[in-house]
Symmetry: C2
Subunit: 452 residues, 2 copies
């Protein structure tokens, strides 16, 4: 049985927009070709309606728990200690470890910065990377005399022992970290390919998050600046990881996923970074340019090469999908928002997901249902400014006709607003039976934290 | 010699945006799959930086003369008689006819509505279609008692005789016309495939121009409204024309081009229509969402299948390229703005075009040079409103980093503004030797009109 269960290599990019990779319309139009990601898409399934949460931490929490971030206390990027996932959560890594998988994470965690919330306490056997985000690298550019600079570390850890800092996350380290992440990922694949146990390798690259500082080998490569250089660099690393899988002869036994964690950051803050492609919006909004990000899935022999699907899929859905593929146990003592996209992968049916609920932090911002989308609160950005707008009336868009969400069709389609509001009401009703985990708490109210 | 010269089938779409076909990121994401156009791209070259003029008439004039529309009196859609191309112009159809090509146009002309400016007086051997645009179809929906309705005809003609109206362009006719255009195009291909003479078949579909009224066979096909139905319909027609070429056994001897004439129309007027994909803007602006449209070129044995190029190409460039491929004569008594993209087609070199000048009507709006773009006057649209904004300072964008042109980088790149302004000055200086043809005139000032 063990041998029939696939290995899983999950590459998660940071802040890559829907429009950045070549196979999503970016690539050479940005002077940043991405032949390796494009090649992965040609060998597998490319999703054009893959949806994530509004920021980095919520998406990572959704991926690893199959639960809406509002439930897990991970509805936003939080600062200070005891942020991230409660020890009580049953992560995808733990789920897979419990059915015999070897697990590792190389890269960015951003789901907890105290020992009991580090990845090696949450189901991962090995970890190298950063516990929070890449933003603190900016601090090194902005240090005035007597102004405090945070010291941000790169960590290394093994399950059963406290992780230890192994170096400061400086601008120089930022240029090098994804090369090291890639080296370790490739080594892990080579070391585990011949074993009896399947593996789950989670590679949350730190790229392309600002500051996008390329490795010296890639600086200047694109002729179009640091961002484009870094896109070419991380495409190269993605290719090295794919090559490691193929070189080990385990291509047909390995699901390879390449996805992003959220839409591009606001232009206002940073100047041109990632691009949302045909959509509008950036991270921290509920516009399609935030919700939809690239996602490519390769599994030779199981997923037909070169497929493209516009079915609605959420980052939540990997949890139950992978559990069902591996015999893993999906908890029943909590609300699970994940749906099994197995039929979509093997081509036997559509995605089971007909709708999707979009929060921005703790605000229900929008509900998607088929090609329709009801905005209840408008989060928007203009260069230099971010708004949260209360709406006099909800706004309804047909995103398949109007991908930039510019043409409110509520007046002639009121019944769709009713459908969307029922979906939202059903969602909120589940919080009665299963109360949310408050941010920073170790478990839901009244529940004993259980050691993982 | 004749047999070595390729046939040319040029399909020109009306108002299809960069983001509409599947191979440009639309297709299934719009619930309007375009498998035939996508297939053509897979067999040929897909251009991601193909640029057209700001409206319908200027683009068509540029295609057929190789001259900037400001030179030919065709800088905008004009109303009333004697609009369009002066009889003195030497069209691509005439150029090809003069070296032995059989020529035909089935579809929309929009370059003149008096007999001496009809296509059959301008180099085309046969014509079926409309002389102006599809807008008058709207008049049928807006006829109040005593309000004059224009009568717009469908025309048929043969060179050497006056064209004749063969039916009114009603909403019902609008649903059927592209089926008839396709039938005639396929018949022309079948009739001419076995002959001694090469042919130039120009198929300017009336689709997807508003009102997008699908053929009854396609109404409801997409599940996403008239626009999506019509996209599926015109993709089907495009496929029929490709099939006609292949069925006649002349695939390797025939250049097939599929392109659009301008960006999508303003949302303000019409609600969701075409989409500019990762760019911003609509027709009547100089934003990338207007300048860049889909363009796919297939020529088996000469163009490597599946290529994609982001080199700058203009609709102007087909004129000299086709002249050089066929031994046609490029006039020397007038300014020609067309460049030979032969090397780009056969893969022997890049596009020779390093820069591009974008007019909106008679205003120089922007200059593109490599990935940079200087806006001198800002044409912009918001739902329901169109603006022409005089700028205090020019605005400079790096469209490869910032496809939506949101981040002005002039302040730190003043030298690029100088380059752009030199390009513009060089262009204007050519008007001294070769004066522009005034709108409605039969020739440039002081030049005798020559019968074609």
């Amino acid at each position: 049985m063990a041998s029939s269960r696939p290995n899983i290599v999950f590459m998660l990019l940071d802040n890559v927009g829907y429009g950045d990779p070549g196979c999503y319309g970016g690539g050479i139009t940005r002077m940043a070709p991405t032949p390796r990601v494009d090649g992965l898409a040609a060998q597998g399934l490319r999703l054009t309606n893959f949806n994530v949460e509004a920021e980095c931490t919520p998406t990572r929490a959704a991926l690893l728990t199959g639960r809406m971030p509002i439930r897990t206390g991970c509805d936003r990027v939080r600062f200070g200690e005891k942020n991230g996932l409660a020890p009580w959560e049953y992560t995808l890594a733990q789920l897979l470890a419990d059915v015999g998988y070897d697990t590792a994470i190389y890269g960015k965690w951003h789901l907890g910065n105290v020992p009991e919330r580090h990845p090696t306490a949450m189901g991962f056997g090995e970890w190298y990377g950063i516990q929070d985000s890449t933003d603190p690298v900016f601090d090194h550019f902005n240090v005035g005399k007597g102004i405090r600079k945070r010291s941000t570390q790169i960590w290394e850890g093994t399950a059963g022992e406290p992780a230890v800092p192994v170096g400061e996350y400086t601008p120089e380290a930022r240029r090098l970290i994804d090369a090291e992440v890639t080296d370790r990922a490739c080594r892990f694949i080579a070391d585990h390919a011949g074993g009896d146990r399947p593996f789950f390798l989670y590679v949350p690259f730190t790229m392309i998050h600002h500051p996008s500082l390329p490795h010296p080998d890639f600086a200047g490569r694109s002729g179009n600046g640091d961002f484009a250089d870094s896109m070419m660099e991380v495409d190269h690393y993605s290719g090295r990881i794919i090559d490691a899988v193929d070189a080990a002869g385990i291509g047909g036994d390995t699901i390879v996923v390449w996805a992003s964690d959220n839409g591009p950051p606001s232009h206002g803050t940073l100047g041109p970074q990632g691009d949302p492609g045909p959509f509008r919006g950036c991270l921290g909004t509920a516009l399609e340019g935030q919700l939809r990000v690239p996602c490519v899935i390769r599994w030779p022999g199981h997923i037909e090469p070169g497929r493209v699907s516009d079915d609605i899929v959420s980052v939540l859905d990997f949890y139950v999908t992978f559990a069902n593929l591996t015999g893993g146990r999906v908890p029943t003592d909590r609300a699970i928002d994940s749906l099994d996209i197995g039929p979509l992968l093997d081509g036997s049916g559509p995605s089971p997901r007909e709708h999707l609920i979009a929060f921005v932090r703790d605000t229900l911002a929008a509900v998607k249902w088929h090609q329709y989308k009801l905005h209840l609160v408008e989060f928007t950005t203009e260069p230099g400014r971010r708004y949260k707008l209360e709406l006099e009336f909800p706004q309804l868009y047909n995103v398949a006709a109007d991908p930039k969400e510019q043409w409110d069709i509520l007046g002639t389609n009121l019944w769709i607003a009713e459908v969307a509001q029922e979906i939202a009401a059903d969602f909120f009703s589940t919080m009665v039976e299963f109360p949310n985990v408050p941010a920073g708490a170790d478990a839901p109210p009244g529940v004993e934290p259980v050691a993982t």
